[in-house]
């Protein structure tokens, strides 16, 4: 049932994506027959809520649909035996709804509402397995962080409303004047979204939450944090656009991205809990995206630099989002498979599982090679884009990014060695391969990875590059609202 509905959603998203890539952005006004009613003749002001979908939105929607489909398939077996399954799937669908609302809406307050939906559903799902002692702690951390971030977002929305009496992103961008208040609002919005997407030093909730959540939920939380990344992009690129402050913001984003990469990966090497290890990797991979986008942001008002390497860096960052959602999802699912069969997340107590769980091992190898940027996998492609363009911007950044990649490989080797290699341990003699639906869930993501690995140019040209164009082209987004009357 859940899988069918999610598959249907995926189908709808793909149809919508095809339409948008062919015809440009879509506007949908809620509550009036056309934007004309929403935009009265004498005021150029959108009164009603307007959904505005462009390439970057649909890009995130594709990620959300794909990953949630895989998560739902996976959870069919993973959650068997738990009580309260109907509530579990209800919350899962609500989480998907929250992510879709976040990426599709064109209204700031609506963004806040859907942010809260995603946070509350996510937190409830994190705390789902109440029999373990630490799940409630993870859930509480997640919801407290989300609530603080969301309330700061609301405060920033209030500041915008106080100045311009508008809530629509496009219309706000049209009249934005970069006053002092706008700077304060920018700081609040940016840092609040950074907190939700777990950038260092605001990342500490991330391993706590990701490690206790059921595996199928963890990957959806990853995508939910990427929805916040989308919101950050929307804020920086579309709402503020080409303003002199953006260089500073870009450098702040780059600095945080570097910190995120390095601290994330070094902490990951140290971990012995397999899901915490992967959660720290998730943090460090977010750093790549921040780096790529930050470079684009820092050169946004220098057209020649933007054309030579800025767009390539942003392509890389955006391509990395979908790559990371796929292979990080796959890795979390394999970690969940290990937990399903061994009952522990502690790498110290695992060993020799490759003898028994062949499919899991293969999927793990695919994911690990891909995340470490080993050719020919898709992680290599996006990282290569980022390295080359960032090297032109500032060579030191590229070197740190490469070191991060090496350390990533190191830590996954460690996890691979201690979990899968080695002799068969006596306590895991009876371990079997995981059930079929879990394998199917992993296979969906693995197939995606292999496809993306083989055709990176296709993906960049069709998906990532239009998204970048949509981000850079602020005028089109504004025209969709203001000019559409």
């Amino acid at each position: 049932m859940v899988v069918a509905s999610l598959a249907f959603v995926e189908f709808l998203v793909i149809i919508l994506a095809r339409d948008i890539y062919l015809n440009g952005l879509h506007i949908y006004t809620l509550g009036a027959s056309s934007p004309n009613l929403a935009i009265p003749e004498n005021y150029i002001v959108p009164v009603r809520i307007i959904l505005e979908v462009d390439s970057i939105s649909i890009f995130m929607a594709i990620i959300a649909a794909t990953v949630s489909l895989a998560a739902a398939i996976y959870s069919l077996s993973f959650m068997k035996g738990e009580t309260g399954q109907n509530r579990f799937y209800t919350l899962l669908l609500l989480l998907v709804a929250g992510m879709f609302g976040m990426v599709l809406t064109g209204d700031l307050f609506n963004l806040f509402v859907f942010l809260e939906i995603a946070s509350i559903a996510g937190a409830a799902l994190v705390a789902f397995r109440t029999k373990f002692a630490d799940t409630a702690e993870g859930g509480l951390k997640y919801i407290v962080i989300s609530t603080v971030a969301a309330l700061m977002v609301l405060f920033a929305i209030g500041i915008f409303y106080a100045q311009y009496n508008l809530l629509n992103i496009g219309a706000l961008a049209h009249v934005m004047q970069y006053t002092m208040l706008d700077k304060i609002a920018l700081v609040l919005l940016a840092i609040a979204f950074m907190m939700k997407l777990a950038s260092v030093p605001l990342h500490m909730w991330c391993p706590d939450t990701y490690s206790v959540a059921p595996a199928g939920i963890t990957i959806m939380l990853v995508v939910a944090s990427y929805a916040c990344l989308y919101a950050l992009f929307r804020t920086c690129f579309t709402l503020y656009g080409v303003s002199p402050d953006m260089v500073t913001v870009g450098w702040i984003v780059i600095t945080l991205g570097m910190l995120t990469m390095f601290v994330g990966v070094t902490m990951a090497v140290f971990q012995t809990d397999i899901k915490r290890l992967m959660a720290y990797h998730c943090i460090s991979q977010t750093g790549y995206m921040l780096l790529g986008i930050g470079v684009g942001l820092a050169v946004l008002n220098r057209p020649e630099a933007l054309n030579t390497y800025g767009i390539a860096a942003m392509d890389g960052g955006i391509f990395h989002i979908i790559n990371n959602a796929l292979y990080k999802g796959l890795l979390f699912l394999t970690a969940g498979a290990l937990f399903y069969r061994t009952g522990t997340r502690d790498l110290n107590r695992m060993g020799g599982l490759a003898h028994k769980m062949k499919w899991t091992t293969i999927f793990y190898i695919i994911g690990a090679l891909s995340i470490s940027g080993i050719p020919p996998f898709n992680g290599f492609a996006s990282k290569l884009l980022i390295y080359e363009s960032v090297y032109r911007f500032n060579p030191i950044l590229a070197i740190v990014a490469m070191i991060t990649s090496i350390l990533t490989l190191a830590s996954f080797t460690k996890a691979f060695y201690s979990a899968f290699m080695g002799a068969e341990l006596p306590e895991y003699q009876e371990v079997k391969e995981v059930p079929k639906s879990m394998i199917a869930g992993m296979a969906v993501l693995a197939a995606g990875i292999i496809f993306f690995s083989l055709f990176p140019g296709l993906i960049v040209d069709w998906l990532a590059h239009p998204a970048t164009e949509a981000l850079i082209n602020q005028g089109a987004y504004i025209n969709g609202i203001i000019g559409g009357g």
Binding site: V148, M204, T266, E388, P456
Partner: protein
């Protein structure tokens, strides 16, 4: 289609795969030139540990926190500071949030004024 256009060099996994297939074929040829006396399940495949008894699987397995011991020992100061910062207390998370807001707001305003 599968070629990723880059500023310095293009990247195509297809060519990479072709190249690796060639390398594998060459490796297979090298392997065929090796000795033919190798047999499974004889003494040739047993673990040899200075003539001592081979310990059980459980003790033979290297545990996860022993991996990269030297690396952690070298970067001990960094890790000590880092682990001290990761307190796991929820109040601290929000302290970091506020600190980051303060820092970035000040940076933004200083740059805006200068």
């Amino acid at each position: 289609m599968s070629i990723l256009g880059l500023s310095y060099s293009p990247w195509s996994p297809i060519f990479w795969l072709l190249a690796s297939v060639v390398v594998m074929i060459m490796a297979y040829f090298f392997r065929r030139r090796g000795q033919k006396k190798y047999k499974k399940d004889t003494e040739q495949t047993k673990i040899f540990l200075c003539g001592e008894e081979v310990p059980e699987a459980k003790q033979r397995h290297i545990r996860a926190h022993n991996v990269y011991w030297g690396f952690f020992e070298t970067m001990k100061e960094y890790y000590d500071a880092n682990i001290k910062a990761h307190t796991g207390i929820i109040n601290d998370y929000i302290i970091w949030f506020l600190v980051l807001i303060a820092i970035s707001a000040i940076i933004l305003f200083i740059v805006g004024i200068v």
